[in-house]
Every structure is written in structure tokens, then in C-alpha cells.
């Protein structure tokens, strides 16, 4: 590099000199293995990526036991912060026009498409799959956003009604979002299951606090990075990783959470979650009777894409007005 060869003269010569040095540097680097820049997996609260306030983490391993990362072991306080952020974000998100909400959720699909390879790698590692088996799951997760995004400006027409009351009144029923929805994500399907539970309350106009899969949380964290760079406003989705035994009871008992999706609640916690939810009359969307989380086939579009799952997080409002002159 510093050899004393005869120097060409002039500007062009100087440029050539620099470029030959760069080529040499690159060659040297290729010879030594590159040190990978690892990602810190953080929480996603109010549009920011804080570490857990508790300062705790837990080791996430691949299915074969290979350590993958230290994930945040979120705390009660993190959850409360997330609920506060979700409550703040709710009115703005609910007030978006249906078409706008649909476009924003479609945009999430666009951005996921751009990170397809990263998701394939993470899902493969999390779920112990070969990349060629993980790829269809990622593709399906992207397609699921598209399917739900399209519902944004249609669900009110399917679920709403104009009601022929037996007196001189104009009477109609329209769906409105419930509010802050707590989601306990499926434990097994780290991305496709997660997206399938997250998209319905979002397209309905709710804000969400999501507890990820405990053992397979990393694709969810990457999804939160997608959400952060999409047009989904900060606070509309909040993502907490950690131990379900610690987090789920706090979410279920929080009085500012209006509804729960309990799909991923461990069986041992089920009754306690229902009891806690009863205290503030929370709406609960349950896993259908007889369905096991670990065996549910999220790639079955007919079973895994349902407008009822949007409806579970909608309130029906009926308005009356007299007809007269």
C-alpha cells in the first residue's frame, strides 16, 4: 500500500491512486472474517424503542438450543407505559378515515416485503425451520396484512345496518373501535400467528398493547421496527417481550385496557385472566373451543382470516333520529 512506485501526475492520476488503495483495503478485509453488527432487541412503546425499565433480559434460543439474543424481560411498569401510550394514540387512530387506515396497513405489507429475507432468517431460527419452509410463512404473513388492510373501508358495510323500526325514525347501526386492546400473541407461530392476531383489532381502529411469544419473540421485535418506519402512528402498536407469567396478569387486570385477545394465554393462566378481566367488564376474544395454539394452521386462509376477529374489537352504536318536517 505504501510502496514507492513512480507516482502518476495530475488530477486523474491522484484519483486513480486513491481508488487503487480502496481496492487494496477491500481485499484485505475480505481475507479477515467480518465482525457482524448484532441487533439489540428492544421494546416498542409509544413509537420509541426503550430497553425495559427493569434492566432485565432473558436469553432467547433457537429451537435447537443455539442462543439467539437477549430479549427484554418487560416489567409491570413497561406494560403500564405501553397502555398509557396506546390510550393516547387511540383517538387519533380511531378518527382516521377508513381508507387512510387501510392504506397505512397496506404500507406495512410493503415494508415487510422489503425485509422478507430478514424475516425468513428470523422465523427459521425461531421456529426451527429450514429457510425454504420459513419463506411461505413470511409470504403468508405479508399477504395477511393485505387481506386485512382491505377490510378497513368495508367492515362497516358488512356489520353495520339501517334498521326498519316500526315508527317514524331514521335508525342506523355503525361499528366503532372498542379502544385499547391487549393481545397475548400465539406462542408457537412467531410471525404469521402474530400478524393474524394483530391486524384485526388494528384495522378496526383500536390501539394495541401486544405481549409477544415468550420463546419466539424476535420476529415480533423486527415487526415493530417495520411498524416504526411505516405510517402507523407511534403508540398505536406497542410491543412488549418477556415472561407471560409475569406480564399477562398485569395486562388482564389493567382497567384502561378495554378488550383482550387471549389466544396466546397459557392454559394455567386462563381462569385468572378471565377473573381479572371481569373486574372492568373487558371484552374477551378467545381461541375457538377445541383449538390448540401449537397445532393451529395459520396458513389455512379460510380458518385464519376472519372478519369476526375484526368484529370482536368493535362496538355497535345505534343512532335514532325522528323523521318529520
Amino acid at each position: 500500500m505504501a510502496s514507492r512506485t513512480p507516482q502518476p501526475k495530475g488530477e486523474a492520476a491522484a484519483r486513480a491512486r486513491v481508488s487503487s488503495r480502496a481496492v487494496q483495503k477491500a481485499a484485505d478485509r475480505a481475507a479477515a472474517p467480518r465482525i457482524e453488527v448484532r441487533k439489540t432487541y428492544k421494546l416498542y412503546i409509544g413509537g420509541a424503542f426503550p430497553r425495559t425499565e427493569s434492566g432485565r433480559s432473558y436469553l432467547v434460543s433457537a429451537k435447537d438450543g443455539t442462543p439467539l439474543a437477549n430479549a427484554c424481560r418487560g416489567s409491570r411498569k413497561d406494560l403500564r407505559d405501553a397502555v398509557r401510550a396506546a390510550r393516547q394514540a387511540f383517538p387519533g387512530w380511531a378518527a382516521r378515515s377508513a381508507m387512510n387506515r387501510g392504506q397505512i396497513l397496506y404500507r406495512v405489507a410493503e415494508l415487510m416485503e422489503g425485509r422478507r429475507d430478514q424475516f425468513v432468517e428470523e422465523v427459521a431460527a425461531a421456529e426451527g425451520l429450514r429457510p425454504d419452509r420459513a419463506r411461505p410463512l413470511v409470504d403468508r404473513a405479508i399477504d395477511r396484512w393485505v387481506w386485512y388492510a382491505g377490510w378497513a373501508d368495508k367492515i362497516a358495510q358488512v356489520l353495520g345496518s339501517s334498521n326498519p323500526v316500526a315508527a317514524s325514525y331514521f335508525n342506523f347501526t355503525i361499528p366503532e373501535p372498542t379502544g385499547v386492546v391487549g393481545i397475548v400473541a400465539p406462542e408457537t407461530s412467531s410471525l404469521l400467528g402474530l400478524v393474524s392476531r394483530l391486524a384485526p383489532p388494528l384495522v378496526a381502529g383500536n390501539s394495541v398493547v401486544l405481549i409477544t411469544s415468550e420463546k419466539r419473540p424476535l420476529p415480533a421485535v423486527t415487526l415493530s421496527e417495520v411498524l416504526a418506519t411505516s405510517d402507523v402512528p407511534g403508540g398505536v402498536v406497542n410491543v412488549i417481550t418477556g415472561l407471560k407469567n409475569e406480564l399477562v396478569p398485569v395486562l388482564a387486570a389493567h382497567v384502561d385496557v378495554d378488550a383482550l385477545d387471549t389466544w396466546g394465554v397459557p392454559d394455567a393462566l386462563r381462569t385468572d385472566v378471565d377473573l381479572a378481566a371481569a373486574e372492568s367488564v373487558k371484552r374477551i376474544a378467545r381461541r375457538p373451543r377445541g383449538v390448540a395454539d401449537a397445532r393451529f394452521d395459520w396458513t389455512d386462509d379460510r380458518a385464519a382470516e376472519r372478519p369476526e376477529w375484526i368484529a370482536a374489537f368493535l362496538e355497535m352504536k345505534t343512532v335514532w333520529h325522528p323523521i318529520g318536517v
Partner: protein, 509 residues
């Protein structure tokens, strides 16, 4: 806008000589007499004793025990009804299960429809009998039971009858299956109407039911058992258990029940939600309310006054969706209150069976005590108390229409559901303040909006956290119109296509 200053206006309100549209002063009794116009009791035969209705037959409670049901207007015990035991509840659930599996649940939708049409017709044919019995057992004025409760109950059966064979069109792309056996627990404020709200959609969808009426108002449900027999409804399709609240809880936690539907207080609703915790039982709750009736300065005031009166004094205010908080825009609060007081002086409180009666008897002594206690708290907390000078009957549980002005949001009478003829008046300046105050409650059942401005109606209707919004009207009900709450007023809807959803399981076609 009135052309007087608020000061003189206030003096007028407080003055006995103040002129008004009725020519009445504040607090004066109505100057003309109404001749008594009692509805005949003859149409109703009340037996000495009633049993439970299980598997199509009237049976005594397992231990033979009974309890009395009282006419709240006379304090007389009308009759004795069977007091169901857990063993009776088990029998009723078994009967319902058998009917669901082998008779009712096997019928084609179009056959179920015909039974429900029959029930609707019989209710219409026997409407006066039901109305009189309802008024005697519950204390509600005959004109309400005759013109509202009974016709609406029949209309509910009529409406859902037509759905029984059209479920495929209610849930496009899906097959609606019945849930099985439903436990239904209903309150005492609209005994027959709530029975209809519960039973009609359940049967239309192919479920069978075990219904528990409120312990103070069992009689129209027991008369309905007779309607089921007249309609030749397959035995076990409808079972009726009279008894205490503990029988309701026994049903809620019963393993043979697939679905629970409850209308009543938020406190008991939470207990019921705890009762089904950890199970796959379906649950719908229609709970309490503390509705705001919001009157803007551009409202048609006379119409608004009628709406306010209907909102809070209809059915003695014993209505979950009652407009118990009046939110009046500051600029019109004085003329509005004056008109309201004027109108209150014409309200007739008394014999529920008198066709002129507007406000009947409070349903029970316990409820009267609860209302009295909350009204005392309103006085003690400093709100301004007003009642018209009307005579009350000497016996019976009666309470004068009551108005509190200068109510603060923190007062108990602005926060707690009173379930009586008591209106709390608060004020606001801007629409945003009205929204803030209206939604400042854990409840979210209903709301009222009074304004002549269409765009404001739609904007306010959108901002109300309430399942039913009445604009320039109040307390209107219809079988086609979904009804139910936001927040702690419960979940699920009754009425309309949405009311079917609570009674079906959707499967892939």
C-alpha cells in the same frame, strides 16, 4: 334566547307568583282533577300458587318452598310462587338439553319460525291480560305496560320468528349453529319485555333456554309459560325458574349451560363474568347506565323537555338507559329548568292501573330505600333539590319525580346509577365540554342529543361512548334496533341482526 337577565330569571323560578305556560307557580299542584280511570283487573286471574315451568309442566320446587310476590302499589302479596332449588335448576337444564338435542334443536328453521310467530300472536291476543298483570306485579303504569312493554315483547318474537329460517343470510359465507342451552337472567324493570329480548333470538337460532325472572316480578314469566303451552312448544324448549339470585348464580356456573345472558346491575354482571371464568360459555351482559341527555341552546326546548321527562321519569326512572343526567348548555339552563319544573307539576304519580298515571310505584321497598338514600346524599352534598307538590298514595312504594340542579360531576347523584325518578342537572359551555362530561362515567349505555343542527348531531353521536344514541328523542326501542353498552355497561347486543350473534356459533360452510 330569553330577554331577561339570569338574575330576574332565577327569581322567577323561585317565586310562587311566576307566570308560566300552565299558569302554575313553582311547586304548585295541578289545578284540575282527573277522575279515576282504573283499568279492570278482571281480565287477570291470579292463582293462589304458581309452580316452576320445567319440561313443559308446572311443578313445585323440590322442597315445596314458595315465596310471595308483592304488588308494590298496594303492598299486598299477590300470590305465592315456587322457590327453585339447585336440584330444580339441574332438572331444568337437563330438560333444556334434551329438547335441544332431540326436539327443538332438530326442527328446521322454518318450523321454529312458525312456533315463534304463534307465540307473538298469542301475546297480541292476550295483550291486555299481560299488561294488567305486569302493572300489578311491577308497579309500572298501565299505559306503559299496555303501549310499550307488551306490544314490544310481541314484536320481538315476531321479528326473530322471521330470522329462524334465514340465518344463512344473517352471516354470509358462514353456517350459524346454535350454542346449546342458554341460561338467561332478567331484571324486574321490564319483566316480560326482557323475557322476549332473551328468549326470542335464542329460540330462533335453535337454542333452548332456562330463564330466571327477577324475584320481585315473576308473574308475567309464569303467564308466558302458559303461552308456551298454548303454542304447543316442544317441552323443555323454554324452562322458567322463579327464585332468589342464588339460583341465577347456580345456573351461571352450571356445567350444562353453554351460554349466559344477563340484564341487570354492573355489580352483578361482574359477578356473573367471574362465574363463567375459565369456561367456554358464551356471555352477553346488559348492565347499568348513567346516560347524559345533552341539550344545546339551539334545541327545540319544548320537545327537549318532553324528551327529558320521558328520559328519566318513564317507568319511574327504573331504566338502565334512563337519561339520568341532564347536560344543559349554560345559556339556556334557566328557561329549560323553568319549563321542566312546569312540566313536572303536571305529572301524575299514583295507581299503576289508572290509565292517567304517568309515574307508578317503585318496584320494591328495597329499591325505594336505595332511591331515598341517594337522594339524601344529593341534598347532603349540596345539590339543589326540587320536587313538584303532588300527592302520593298512602300505601305503596311511591317516590315523587325529583330534580337536582347545581349538581357537580363529583356528586354521587351524578356518578351512581339511581334507578329511580331522579334527574341530576349539570351544565356545559362548549360541545367539547359536553362530550367530556357525558363520557365521564364508567358506564356507556345510552346518550341523548338535542339540537336543531344536523352536523352537530352526527358529530356528537360519533363522540358519545354509548351503544345507543337518541337524537331529538329518547327511550325509543324496537326489535330491529340493536341495543347494548360500551364500557362497563356490558357487551353484546340485543335486537336486530346483531342480537342473533350472541346465540350462534359460526362454522365454515
Amino acid at each position: 334566547m330569553p330577554d331577561v337577565t339570569s338574575e330576574t330569571k332565577l327569581q322567577r323560578i323561585g317565586s310562587d307568583n311566576a307566570p308560566s305556560s300552565w299558569g302554575l307557580g313553582d311547586g304548585q299542584a295541578i289545578p284540575w282533577e282527573y277522575a279515576p280511570a282504573p283499568e279492570s283487573r278482571e281480565i287477570v286471574t291470579i292463582r293462589d300458587r304458581y309452580g316452576l315451568f320445567i319440561n313443559g309442566r308446572e311443578v313445585d320446587a323440590a322442597d315445596g318452598e314458595t315465596f310471595g310476590t308483592v304488588n308494590p302499589a298496594t303492598e299486598e302479596t299477590l300470590t305465592q310462587v315456587a322457590k327453585a332449588t339447585p336440584a330444580d335448576a339441574d332438572r331444568a337444564v337437563r330438560a333444556a338439553r334434551k329438547a335441544q338435542r332431540h326436539s327443538w334443536g332438530q326442527l328446521a328453521g322454518r318450523e321454529r319460525a312458525k312456533y315463534l310467530f304463534r307465540i307473538a300472536r298469542i301475546l297480541q291476543e292476550r295483550s291486555r291480560e299481560f299488561a294488567v298483570l305486569e302493572s300489578m306485579d311491577s308497579g309500572k303504569p298501565i299505559k306503559e305496560s299496555r303501549d310499550v312493554d307488551v306490544p314490544l315483547a310481541a314484536a320481538h318474537f315476531w321479528y326473530y320468528a322471521g330470522w329462524a329460517d334465514k340465518l344463512d343470510y344473517a352471516f354470509p359465507g358462514r353456517v350459524a349453529r346454535p350454542l346449546g342451552v342458554a341460561a338467561q337472567i332478567i331484571p324486574w324493570n321490564f319483566p316480560l319485555l326482557m323475557l322476549a329480548w332473551k328468549i326470542a333470538p335464542a329460540l330462533a337460532a335453535g337454542n333452548t333456554v332456562v330463564l330466571k325472572p327477577a324475584s320481585t316480578t315473576p308473574l308475567t314469566a309464569l303467564l308466558f309459560a302458559d303461552v308456551c303451552r298454548q303454542a304447543d312448544l316442544p317441552p323443555g324448549t323454554v324452562n322458567i325458574l322463579t327464585g332468589p339470585g342464588s339460583i341465577g348464580m347456580h345456573l351461571v356456573t352450571h356445567p350444562g349451560i353453554d351460554k349466559v345472558a344477563f340484564t341487570g346491575s354492573t355489580e352483578v354482571g361482574k359477578k356473573i363474568a367471574r362465574g363463567v371464568a375459565g369456561t367456554d360459555k358464551g356471555l352477553t351482559l346488559e348492565l347499568g347506565g348513567k346516560a347524559a341527555n345533552i341539550v344545546f341552546e339551539d334545541a327545540a326546548l319544548d320537545q327537549a323537555v318532553e324528551g327529558i321527562v320521558n328520559g328519566i321519569y318513564f317507568n319511574q326512572g327504573e331504566v338502565c338507559c334512563a337519561g339520568s343526567r341532564l347536560l344543559a348548555q349554560e345559556s339556556i339552563v334557566e328557561p329549560l329548568i323553568e319549563k321542566l319544573k312546569d312540566r313536572l307539576s303536571t305529572i301524575r304519580v299514583g295507581d299503576p292501573l289508572d290509565k292517567n298515571t304517568d309515574v307508578g310505584a317503585i318496584n320494591s321497598r328495597a329499591q325505594l330505600e336505595k332511591i331515598t338514600e341517594l337522594v339524601e346524599s344529593g341534598k347532603a352534598e349540596g345539590a339543589e333539590f326540587y320536587q313538584p307538590a303532588c300527592d302520593l298514595p298512602e300505601v305503596g312504594y311511591f317516590f315523587r319525580p325529583t330534580l337536582f340542579t347545581n349538581v357537580a360531576q363529583s356528586h354521587r347523584i351524578a356518578q351512581e346509577e339511581i334507578f329511580g325518578p331522579v334527574l341530576s342537572v349539570l351544565t356545559f359551555r362548549t360541545p367539547d365540554e359536553a362530550v367530556e362530561k357525558a363520557n365521564n362515567t364508567p358506564y356507556g349505555l345510552s346518550a341523548g342529543i338535542w339540537t336543531e343542527k344536523g352536523s352537530r348531531i352526527l358529530s356528537m353521536a360519533t363522540k358519545m361512548k354509548a351503544g345507543v344514541v337518541w337524537a331529538n328523542t329518547f327511550n325509543k326501542f324496537d326489535p330491529t334496533s340493536p341495543f347494548g353498552g360500551y364500557k362497563e355497561s356490558g357487551y353484546g347486543r340485543e335486537g336486530g341482526m346483531h342480537g342473533l350473534h350472541a346465540y350462534v356459533r359460526l362454522e365454515d360452510r
